[in-house]
Structures are given as structure tokens and as C-alpha cells.
């Protein structure tokens, strides 16, 4: 129906009766938007694809030479790049799993009659409303081995969270979990409130235990919306830059976005970094595709 409205350009439509024809709306709003998207999204995308096949360096005045697939070949044979991908994968797994467990767990707790539920939910949403830079600096202080409150609270003495190469990635993931679990919680709450009450009543009549009720009723019905949260968070975690960059700059926390940034804007290997950006893009698309297929299967059940 919406398509029909847009394409028919009916001059007698409701908009037309308010003094603005569909053609005018198209000319005023839709065409500029499409042009804006083409200029700022599509054009750079195609332009950078072209650069990915060249040896172009933005810092030099030398022209770009076509090198074919050389950039892609070198990147895929670069052990540092693969280690950056491995770090990213580890980060995504730890971070997204943590967010799902904490977020869904919190939603389960909130999905019952408790006092000040609305206020509590709003307060729990605060972390994800803060800017990444603020969160990064804030947690850097919390993790400080000398005066950070985390070590003090946990009785860890002078444990080094961010300086320890084995711990730093987990420290970044913990911060990300703190920040984005509320997002999973919010979506989970929406899913939980949509589960029909009569199913729980029927389960109670059948004397089903809480374990059975959770795995046979709650989880299957919330799964589709939970999958959407996982897709969003996986994509975001895959692209993580700010938190890891602000909190610590360990080689063990050099996720692929940081490597890409360094390659593009510190080393000025423009062509090569464009190729890396495309490799990352293809990977994100592939992972998202797998998730979407799984989501469709979950919906079909």
C-alpha cells in the first residue's frame, strides 16, 4: 500500500488536499534524501572499493597505481591481521554472551511485580545513554590499580586490569557488558511481556517446574526478539573501536577496527586499509546472514 502511495503520485491524495502534491513531496523530501545517501554513502563505498585495488597513499601526492588483488592477498597472509581478527572474535564472543546473560537475567528479574519497577528500569538504562568516551574514561579510573574502586570493592589489592595483557581484553568486555546489557534487557522485557499469561497458567495446572517452564515456554517465545538483540550487539561488538582505544592500547586488545584506523590514518596506507575495510564488511555481512537465517528458523518453530 505504501509503495502504491509513493509510486502513484496521486495529485488528489490527502497531502495534495493539504496543499502539497505527491510530486512536490517527492521533489522536496525523497529525491534530496536519496541524493544525500548516494553522495555520502554509496559514492564513498564505490570509491573506496576502487582504491582497495590500488597502492594509493593519501599522505603522498603520488597517483594511485592499480595493483589488482595484491592488497587483499597480502592482508589475508598477514599474521598480525589474523591475530587482530582472533582478538575481535574473542571480544565479540565474551562481550555478547555476557550481555545476553546479564541483560536477559535482569529482564527476567524485572518481569515480575516489584516496587518502583519503572524507575528501576529507567535507571538500569542509563549506561547505554552515556557516550563511549565518557564510559571509557570513567572505567579507566575504576580499573586503576592504585585508587580504582573495583580492586577496593573486590579486595583484589593492586590487580592490574588494563596493563595486564591477558586481562585487558576482558576488562574492555566487562565495560561493554555494563554499557550494553540494558539494551538486551530492554528488548528481552518487550519479549517477556508479550508471552501469553495463559501458557504459564496451563503450565502451572500441569505442575510444570520453573526449569521446564523457562525452557519450553519463556525462552522459545522470547528467542526471536533475543536473536535481534544478538544480531545488533554482534555487529556493534565487531566494529568496536572507542572503548578498546580509550581504555587500553595493548596489542592483546587491538581489535580489527583499531588496526584499520592505524593503517588508514597513522600509516596512511589508504589502498590497503580500504581493502581491509572491505574484508571486515564482508565478514560482518556473512555473520549477520548466518544470524538472520537462524532467526528465520527460530521464528518458524
Amino acid at each position: 500500500m505504501a509503495t502504491a502511495v509513493i509510486t502513484s503520485l496521486d495529485t488528489k491524495s490527502r497531502a495534495a488536499s493539504h496543499g502539497m502534491s505527491d510530486i512536490r513531496i517527492r521533489n522536496l523530501f525523497i529525491i534530496p534524501t536519496i541524493l544525500f545517501l548516494i553522495v555520502f554513502n554509496i559514492f564513498p563505498l564505490i570509491y573506496s572499493l576502487g582504491y582497495s585495488f590500488t597502492d594509493f597513499r593519501a599522505s603522498s601526492n603520488a597517483p594511485a597505481n592499480f595493483v589488482g588483488l595484491q592488497n587483499y592477498r597480502e592482508l589475508l597472509n598477514d599474521t598480525f591481521i589474523w591475530s587482530n581478527f582472533a582478538i575481535t572474535a574473542k571480544y565479540v564472543i565474551v562481550s555478547v554472551t555476557g550481555q545476553v546473560i546479564v541483560g536477559f537475567g535482569t529482564a527476567m528479574l524485572l518481569n515480575r511485580d516489584i516496587p518502583f519497577k519503572g524507575l528501576l528500569t529507567t535507571l538500569l538504562l542509563l549506561p547505554m545513554m552515556l557516550s563511549m568516551a565518557v564510559v571509557g574514561l570513567f572505567w579507566k579510573l575504576l580499573y586503576d590499580p592504585s585508587f580504582g574502586i573495583i580492586n577496593h570493592a573486590l579486595g583484589f589489592g593492586r590487580f592490574e586490569w588494563l596493563s595486564n595483557p591477558d586481562m585487558a581484553l576482558y576488562a574492555v568486555a566487562i565495560t561493554d557488558i555494563w554499557m550494553w546489557s540494558p539494551f538486551v534487557m530492554l528488548l528481552s522485557l518487550a519479549g517477556l511481556s508479550a508471552v501469553p499469561k495463559h501458557l504459564y497458567e496451563a503450565a502451572a495446572i500441569d505442575r510444570a517446574g520453573p526449569f521446564y517452564t523457562f525452557f519450553r515456554i519463556t525462552l522459545p517465545l522470547v528467542a526471536p526478539i533475543l536473536m535481534i538483540a544478538i544480531i545488533f550487539r554482534t555487529m556493534e561488538a565487531f566494529k568496536t573501536f572507542d572503548l578498546a582505544y580509550i581504555l587500553t592500547s595493548q596489542p592483546t586488545t587491538e581489535v580489527i577496527s583499531i588496526r584499520l584506523y592505524k593503517m588508514a590514518f597513522q600509516e596512511w596506507q589508504t589502498g590497503r586499509s580500504c581493502a581491509l575495510a572491505y574484508i571486515v564488511l564482508i565478514m560482518v555481512l556473512a555473520i549477520t546472514n548466518i544470524y538472520v537465517k537462524y532467526l528465520n528458523k527460530v521464528k518458524e518453530r
Partner: protein
């Protein structure tokens, strides 16, 4: 109507002409955000008084400096007329045509003789020994050390130190003594630590710290003329130097794996460490009682010698260059004429800037002006720098990637780290066809 249009066009033309003329009376210098930039602004205010030309020193945080400067260069932007660029940039900026060739200016003013030799070699000349110059040495700088005189001069500490190490506790003469003193004062139970060194691996912090050790141990990063690195960067001397740097890391305060100039000054101001490595440019804050409660008991020394008596330090500081895309190149050149004058260089030093003028540096007036100027003077005649080739950023990142895990986490050995680095650098030079 015709008259109106003509009048309007004439007005616009006049405005445009006046605008161009007004523009020529203004110059913008781009630099990083730190105290010397403030001193430079004070200096150029005096230029405005003399000539009527307004000069603005525009700054950005160090972390963005390189990216912001090169983004503007790459866009051939005219936002900056001059830039006080890092010494490593000179190859990338000159080969790409971002800097104006200042060779004639350099020769005309005999700056080879006027400025300290090391500053000419590293801030101005590219390629090495080519006699082509792209910058005027502006802010001389190098890495030196501050220490807690009150800790060092405490009779009990002196007695205990002598009993343990067999020699008097005093500012270290070599890196072995530096290590002993760091170990002696390292007392985590008392929240006192031995030493503060550079460990930040995001730009050149850690690399410069390690360079201090490498150069003093008689090592080099490579042959800057032939680009040969194998056997040089991974030499026995360099391995020993890196091992000692790793050992020193063990005497730093907790969480010291991401520390650079800010933290290293804090190590002194917050009673954390007995000795602290830092650029001389940050020492004014340490003699200022407002920023350092320990100002009266803070002493300074030059980078100590290595086991064979070599004494060098890593070069900091920057030269000032004219940006090729500036619309005020002529005016900028006039400013440089003023900047290199003896009296300007003297005034620059008085304001707190580190002049590279040999005459000013050698004067007793300069050397006695602060507690660290003498150490600075001594250091500026024995400094060495990192690669200045256009691909320096790749080399820097590779060095960080290889040595950081060893220094801060003890992963692998110094030999393995430097062997891998030699392979990385060779591959990089091969890629850019620099190996001869």
C-alpha cells in the same frame, strides 16, 4: 538597475580585495597542545607588535596532531601557513610536497652554523646528508631525567644504598647505576617505586624510551643511508639495552604499562617514583611549585652513559616548516626571517621555549636559567632520532608491536622481539624499494 548591479559588483570586488589584503596580515601556525605552544604564542605576539602581522598558534592534542596535520596536507588545505611538525614527519611531508623547500633560506642564514648540529640533522635535513632542508629547528628537545633529591640525599638512604651496592647514592652516571637506584627505591609496601619510564605504545613513547637505552648502549636502529637493519636493530648491544629496559619496567609503579609524559611528571609530583624519564619540554612544570609540590626537591640529570661510555639520548622536539598550500608563503618566509634572528632565539629561550640556537645554548645565561638547562644543553649535542622516512609510521607501529609485549608482559625474549622487528622493517623497506 544597471547602476545598482555595477555598484554591487564593485562593492563585492572591494570587499574581496580588502579580504585578501587582510588575510596577508594573518598567519596561522599549527602545533600540538603543550606548554611550548603557549610560549610560542607569547613570542609571536611580540612579532605582531613589531610588524602588525597577527600570528595565531593553533593547537590540537598530541594524540590528534599527526592525523589532523596530514589530513589537512592531504586535502591541500590552506588552513595552516606553518606547522611545527614532528621530526619523523620530515620525509613523508617533504617527499609528498607538503613542505616548502627551505634550502636557500637555510644557506642564506647559515643555519648550519647557527643551530646545534643535531637539530639541523634531525629537524631540518632530508634525506640524510643531502643538504636539503625543509624546516627551521624551532623547539629543541630530548629525553632527560628528573629525580627526588630529598630521597637521594636522605642520610639513612645513602648509608643503606652504599651498604647494598658499594658506591655512593647520587644521580646515576650509567645505566647500571640507574637500574640499581631504581631497584633500591622500589618499595611497593610503602607505595614508593623506583622509576618511571615511557611505556605508551600508541605513538613514539615506548620507542623513545627504548631508544634512550639502545643509543647509550652504543646501538643503532639501522643504517639510515642504506636502510640496512638486520644485524643492527637486533645487535647484541640492542638486545642488552632492551633487556635492561624490561628490567626497569619491573621497578615502575603499578599499572605503568600505558604511561607517557603526563604520567611521568605525575610520578614526581605525586611522590610515586625516585626517578622519572621525560622530555625536557615538560620539566618547567616540575620546577613550578604550583604544579609540583616537590619542586624544591626535584633534581635533573641527562640520560646516563651505557656500559661502553656511549652517552646519547632520544631526540624530541620539532622544526617549523612552511606548508606548500599556504596562501601566505611570502609572509611566512618573513616571519621565519624574524624567528631565526639571534635576539628572537634568545627571547624564545627566555619565554621557556627550547631554542636550537647553538650560541644561546652555549651561553652561561641560558645554562643557569633553570635547574635543567645545563642537562638540556649537554643532551642536545648528543641526540639521535628515529627513522624519518615517509613510512616512519609503519616502522613505529611495527616496533611497538614487537617490543611492547616483551617490555610490559615479558612475552618472549629481547632477541626474539628484535629479530622479528628486523624482519618486519626489512619487509617494509623492500616493499617501498628502499633497500640498496
Amino acid at each position: 538597475m544597471r547602476k545598482t548591479m555595477t555598484g554591487l559588483l564593485a562593492g563585492i570586488g572591494l570587499m574581496w580585495a580588502c579580504g585578501t589584503s587582510a588575510q596577508a596580515q594573518e598567519l596561522t601556525i599549527f602545533w600540538a597542545e603543550w606548554d611550548p605552544a603557549n610560549y610560542l604564542q607569547e613570542l609571536v605576539n611580540e612579532y605582531e607588535k613589531e610588524t602588525g602581522v597577527k600570528v595565531t598558534v593553533e593547537t590540537t592534542p598530541w594524540a590528534d596532531f599527526q592525523t589532523k596535520a596530514f589530513t589537512e596536507f592531504n586535502a591541500k588545505g590552506s588552513a595552516y601557513d606553518m606547522v611545527v611538525g614532528d621530526s619523523q614527519w620530515i620525509g613523508a611531508a617533504s617527499e609528498a610536497g607538503h613542505y616548502v623547500d627551505l634550502t636557500d633560506f637555510f644557506n642564506k642564514h647559515k643555519l648550519n652554523e647557527v643551530m646545534a648540529p643535531a637539530t639541523v640533522k634531525y629537524y631540518a635535513e632530508y634525506p640524510s646528508n643531502s643538504k636539503k632542508y625543509w624546516s627551521i629547528p624551532a623547539e629543541g628537545d630530548a629525553v632527560g631525567w628528573s629525580y627526588r633529591k630529598d630521597w637521594f640525599e636522605d642520610p639513612k638512604e645513602m648509608e643503606a644504598f652504599k651498604a647494598k651496592y658499594g658506591y655512593d647514592l647520587a644521580p646515576p652516571k650509567d645505566w647500571k647505576q640507574l637500574r640499581d637506584i631504581a631497584e633500591f627505591f622500589h618499595r611497593p609496601d610503602e607505595k614508593r617505586y623506583g622509576i618511571a619510564i615511557y611505556t605508551d605504545n600508541s605513538y613514539d613513547g615506548l620507542v623513545m624510551g627504548v631508544e634512550n637505552a639502545i643509543f647509550s648502549f652504543g646501538g643503532e636502529l639501522g643504517d639510515y643511508a642504506t636502510y640496512k637493519v638486520d644485524g643492527i636493530i637486533n645487535s647484541e648491544k640492542n638486545v642488552k639495552a632492551l633487556e635492561l629496559y624490561r628490567e626497569l619496567y619491573g621497578f615502575t609503579p603499578p599499572g605503568w604499562a600505558k604511561s607517557f609524559f603526563v604520567e611521568n611528571n605525575q610520578a614526581i609530583t605525586e611522590n610515586l617514583a625516585a626517578m622519572s624519564m621525560n622530555y625536557f619540554a615538560f620539566f618547567p612544570a616540575l620546577v613550578n611549585e604550583a604544579s609540583n609540590p616537590n619542586a624544591k626537591v626535584t633534581g635533573f640529570f641527562a640520560n646516563p652513559a651505557g656500559p661502553d661510555g656511549h652517552q646519547y639520548a632520544a631526540l624530541g622536539g620539532q622544526g617549523i616548516s612552511i606548508v606548500s598550500y599556504s596562501e601566505n608563503k611570502e609572509e611566512a618566509m618573513k616571519f621565519l626571517e624574524w624567528f631565526v634572528k639571534d635576539e628572537t632565539q634568545k627571547r624564545w629561550a627566555e619565554l621557556g621555549g627550547y631554542t636550537a640556537s647553538a650560541k644561546v645554548l652555549e651561553s652561561p645565561e641560558f645554562q643557569n636559567a633553570t635547574p635543567y638547562n645545563k642537562a638540556f644543553y649537554e643532551t642536545m649535542f648528543k641526540v639521535k632520532d628515529f627513522w624519518a622516512t615517509p613510512e616512519y609510521a609503519e616502522l613505529l607501529i611495527q616496533m611497538n608491536q614487537r617490543i611492547y609485549p616483551f617490555v610490559t608482559a615479558g612475552q618472549g625474549t629481547a632477541k626474539e622481539a628484535l629479530d622479528s622487528l628486523a624482519a618486519d622493517w626489512k619487509a617494509t623497506f623492500d616493499k617501498y624499494g628502499r633497500n640498496k
